[in-house]
């Protein structure tokens, strides 16, 4: 392979990005060296096993990926803003919508949500960390290695171009012989290992590490939704693992699982992909539901209405999510009976979802609703998600779907579900839990700019897509004729995407502004919240709780505050056992990344050599006898005294 084929050349847009990426890397390395921060980075972040720091790294990676995926989105909107534009050619457009989809779902939504879970869940159940802290670090670094490998495709070798669904036979070597779709198969596999480990980690954490007295039906609803999400992860991700393995074997070693030739079965890919893919939608939406529930209860000053039915609704949605995958291909020539059954199971999801919407509304009823930025996101979620939901029911009706399938109507629908359902939730969660992570609030005024620009931009961008879809425009078209009359709709939509981008810029500015200027004097419980994570300092100390709290009821912290029982007695302090930092997760993940890169280019000798790194890492990990360390009582006392006046 010549260098010319190795690097993606010839496209000025990509050339500019290559130069920009190169300069940024050099700049970053120079900056860190100049500030002498390498050691600090290694000790405090790269080798950390602290769930809060890992969570923050997840969120940071999510914001970066949001930027990347967002730029992809803007380019697509620019290209289709007028008929027959020539900003991107067909191939470039195909690559961009593919990476947009993969990045937004797997490298933006997932890390954002997992990041927030990481920060919040151990605190919310009164634990000192997750069950397997080192595995947690490994999860993050493999996710990160997968994400970086995937992003590398756009400057080295060429991006995947078969859509985020990567349908065969198109995604096979027969029709896409380049390395682009190798990147898809390999990098998703690496990131998927991390996600699967996260699922296991959170199941065990929530089952085994709850504070004394915190029984199942006293769990905060966000913890419940994280628990159920983790179960779906463990149930669904192995399917993706297998599907990607078959894909890798097909592309790299010439097997015929999904090919046209030699008896391969492309429909098998569709089934496997959506057997994972549909639960995946709920993997991202269910934690979001939990976040909204916390925020809505806090800012209505009321307990969550119908707590039990909320728990059952989440469990019901999780169960149904495994039974609906065929609705992604009603048009594949299934029998009428099959399509009818899957229409029914799909529509049934609307029932628990409807229950949740009403419970949220009734949580607010007779409350005292404060319009903080976190609450605004939760409020905007309800009407926007309702539109996404009802159009989802329309798509669920198999016969009607013959007219919506693969059209812009579908694209509008899933953006109306995923953006309010996930992105709004992530924003709400960031504003809500920011003080818990950093000890200061994000600015509420800039936050309102962020909110209004983004919500209005979102509706402007995606509402017109319903109409062009009903007018016969299919998805993933890089251009269209003027005579179609879609130009006005899509032009408007493109303007909307700029407004949305301005909203995102407001968020970035808000983060910058708040880091520099926001008041550090917000106390440990700035929102007067209800759940346990607010019972400790903000930002939370590395040991989380000096004394593990004893829980008596749902929203225990809320009632303890009322009774004035949140204090801490010096005689209760005991040394805290904490896990030590470890270098193995980051090194192992790096080895995975390198092996992955060689596999992408089918340089098998190099891949085998590099995989020795994985073996060594695993062995080193197995012989790691470090049992952690203890924080002495004096240090606990000193740290606790800094923020609470009630240490007796």
């Amino acid at each position: 392979m010549s260098l010319d084929e190795f690097f993606v050349t010839g496209d000025p847009l990509i050339l500019a990005s290559q130069i920009a990426i190169g300069l940024t890397m050099i700049g970053l390395i120079a900056l860190i060296t100049y500030l002498k921060r390498w050691k600090w980075l290694w000790n405090e972040w790269f080798t950390t096993v602290d769930h809060k720091k890992i969570g923050i790294m997840y969120i940071l990676a999510g914001v970066l990926m949001f930027f990347r995926g967002g730029v992809d989105g803007l380019l697509m909107k620019a290209q289709t803003s007028r008929p027959e534009l020539d900003i991107l050619n067909a191939q470039h457009y195909d690559e961009i919508f593919t990476t947009h989809g993969v990045i937004m779902i797997l490298f933006m939504a997932m890390p954002m949500l997992i990041g927030i879970m990481n920060v919040v869940i151990p605190l919310q159940i009164g634990a000192r960390d997750v069950a397997f802290p080192k595995l947690n670090a490994f999860s993050f670094w493999t996710f990160f290695a997968g994400a970086m490998l995937f992003n590398l495709s756009f400057v080295i070798g060429g991006s995947p171009d078969a859509g985020w669904t990567s349908y065969f036979p198109l995604a096979g070597k027969e029709f896409t012989p380049g390395v682009g779709n190798n990147y898809y198969a390999v990098s998703l596999q690496i990131a998927g290992i991390g996600t699967l480990a996260t699922g296991i980690n959170f199941i065990v954490t929530i089952m085994k590490m709850r504070a004394p007295g915190l029984s199942w039906m006293k769990l905060p609803i966000f913890t419940w939704s994280t628990f159920i999400t983790s179960i779906i992860i463990v149930a669904a991700f192995p399917i993706l693992t297998i599907a990607l393995l078959f894909m890798t074997l097909d592309r790299l070693f010439g097997t015929h699982f999904f090919t046209v030739a030699a008896g391969g079965d492309p429909m098998l890919w569709l089934n496997l992909f959506w057997l994972w893919g549909h639960p995946e939608v709920y993997i991202v939406v269910l934690p979001a539901f939990g976040m909204f529930s916390e925020v809505i209860a806090t800012f209505s000053r009321k307990n969550l209405y119908g707590y039990k039915s909320m728990v059952f609704a989440v469990a019901g949605i999780a169960f149904l999510s495994m039974l609906v995958w065929v609705h992604h291909f009603y048009t594949m020539g299934n029998s009428a009976a099959v399509n009818s059954i899957f229409s029914l199971t799909t529509m049934m999801i609307a029932i628990p979802t409807g229950v949740k919407i009403f419970n949220w509304l009734f949580t607010m009823r007779k409350g005292r609703i404060e319009f903080s930025t976190a609450m605004l996101w939760s409020l905007a979620f309800i009407p926007c998600f309702t539109i996404g939901g009802v159009t989802g029911v329309m798509l669920a009706m198999a016969a009607a779907d013959y007219q919506y399938h693969n059209t812009m109507f579908l694209v509008a629908h899933f953006h109306y579900v995923l953006i309010p359902g996930v992105v709004f939730a992530v924003f709400a969660a960031l504003y809500y839990w920011w003080p818990k992570m950093f000890g200061f609030k994000l600015n509420e005024k800039i936050g309102k700019w962020h909110f209004w620009l983004f919500v209005i931009g979102f509706n402007m961008t995606f509402m017109p897509m319903f109409f062009v879809g009903l007018d016969g425009m299919s998805r993933r078209m890089y251009t269209y004729a003027e005579s179609t009359g879609w130009g006005a709709w899509l032009g408007f939509s493109a303007v909307g995407s700029l407004v949305m981008a301005a909203g995102f810029a407001a968020l970035c500015y808000n983060i910058y502004w708040s880091f520099r200027y926001a008041s550090r004097n917000v106390g440990s419980d700035p929102w007067n919240a209800r759940t346990l994570e607010w019972a400790t300092a903000s930002p939370a100390p590395h040991y989380n709780f000096a004394v593990v709290p004893q829980v008596e009821q749902l929203d225990d912290f809320w009632y303890k505050k009322k009774k004035g029982e949140t204090g801490l007695k010096k005689k209760d302090l005991k040394p805290v056992h904490m896990p030590s930092n470890s270098w193995t997760p980051i090194v192992l993940a790096a080895a995975f990344g390198v092996v992955g890169f060689f596999l992408v280019f089918e340089w098998f000798t190099l891949a085998i050599v590099a995989s020795i790194g994985i073996v060594i890492g695993l062995i080193a990990n197995s012989f790691d006898y470090d049992d952690g360390y203890h924080i002495p009582v004096e240090e606990l006392e000193k740290e606790e005294r800094e923020w609470r006046g009630d240490l007796q």
Partner: protein, 338 residues
């Protein structure tokens, strides 16, 4: 805050012309021109009514609650009472969606079964059979009974059932003529079926909706519904004037690229039916190799006079085909209805 409000107003105002533009003409899905598409449209309209009711109820309830229970400066920072939930209410909003699902499920199932068959009132007529073979990035239509083959357009008799037997020569595509019927996938080594009736003469827009590579956006075709007489006349004309389809021309057609319209005597079904395998002999990964940065020309030329074993193309027919292609590009759709 003021600046923000102004911005919100300005953006809302922007919406109005767009909504007006949208109302001027009927969206394709709401403009069915045959019984099958009509039953789909009826189902869609029926569901939209339910959905509008749901949206209105939720929005009104939402607006009312958010407004009525908003925190006010003069409310003395009161603390709302805790609520346990109410079984009766929770059962109510569990039952309502159940009833809605039942109300939607019954007509959905009915329609699913209905559109898989010859439409009502046409059972007596022998449907016209057309084989659809989708390839990268064109549509090939074979009329086995008439023994003719077309590329990127179909003529059908009006008010007469047509049965499509569909397959693909490679990647997966989806055959869709929104005004006449819903869509269905075309897959290699596989046959799917679709019925269609046009109840008036006219030209209808058809396209692939399942992404299959660089030429995908151009993968359109036209369905021309004609009177019985015109249709028979067209068949006769083709028989008298069109070239015979050769195996070599056919394999050139299957090469990846965007084509204009073509018409032939004879069908490829004589030597291959992609529904029953054998497509791999036409698939050449080399032809899908990407060259980044070079001008990305996906338009394709067919040289019908090419000798079976020669790979060179002569320039004359090259130009000729380009003309034909451009001509058809501008006429493949009737989408100028706006």
């Amino acid at each position: 805050m003021n600046a923000m409000k102004k911005l919100i107003y300005a953006l809302t105002l922007l919406l109005i012309p767009v909504l007006l533009a949208g109302c001027e003409s009927k969206l394709l899905v709401f403009d069915p021109k045959g019984p099958i598409a009509r039953s789909l449209t009826d189902l869609i309209v029926y569901s939209i009514i339910f959905m509008l009711v749901i949206v209105v109820v939720v929005f009104v309830l939402f607006g009312y609650i958010v407004w009525k229970y908003r925190a006010r400066k003069d409310d003395g920072d009161f603390e709302p009472e805790e609520e346990k939930g109410n079984h009766l209410l929770e059962i109510t909003w569990f039952t309502i969606p159940v009833l809605i699902v039942i109300a939607l499920m019954i007509p959905t199932t009915k329609t699913i079964y209905e559109v898989e068959d010859v439409p009502q009132g046409y059972e007596e007529e022998e449907p016209l059979v057309i084989h659809v073979t989708s390839a990268d990035w064109k549509w090939i239509f074979s009329y086995p009974d008439q023994d003719i083959e077309t590329v990127n357009y179909i003529n059908i008799p009006e008010d007469h059932p047509v049965q499509f037997k569909m397959t693909s020569a490679g990647t997966m595509q989806s055959f869709w003529v929104p005004e006449l019927a819903g869509q269905k996938y075309t897959m290699a080594n596989m046959q799917t079926n679709l019925y269609m009736v046009a109840d008036q003469p006219g030209s209808y827009y058809g396209r692939n909706t399942s992404f299959n590579g660089r030429g995908y956006a151009h993968m359109e075709f036209e369905v021309q519904a004609q009177t019985r007489e015109d249709f028979n006349k067209w068949v006769n004309d083709v028989k008298n004037t069109a070239n015979e389809l050769s195996e070599d021309t056919y394999s050139q057609i299957l090469e990846p690229g965007v084509l204009g319209r073509m018409t032939f005597n004879g069908t490829h079904l004589d030597w291959i039916d992609h529904a029953h395998g054998g497509s791999e002999q036409y698939i050449d990964p080399e032809k899908y190799q990407l060259k980044h940065g070079e001008h990305d020309d996906i338009h394709q030329d067919i040289d019908e006079d090419r000798e079976a074993d020669s790979t060179e193309q002569d320039t004359e027919s090259h130009e000729h085909d380009h003309e034909e292609m451009e001509h058809s590009d501008s006429e493949t759709t009737d989408h100028s209805h706006h």
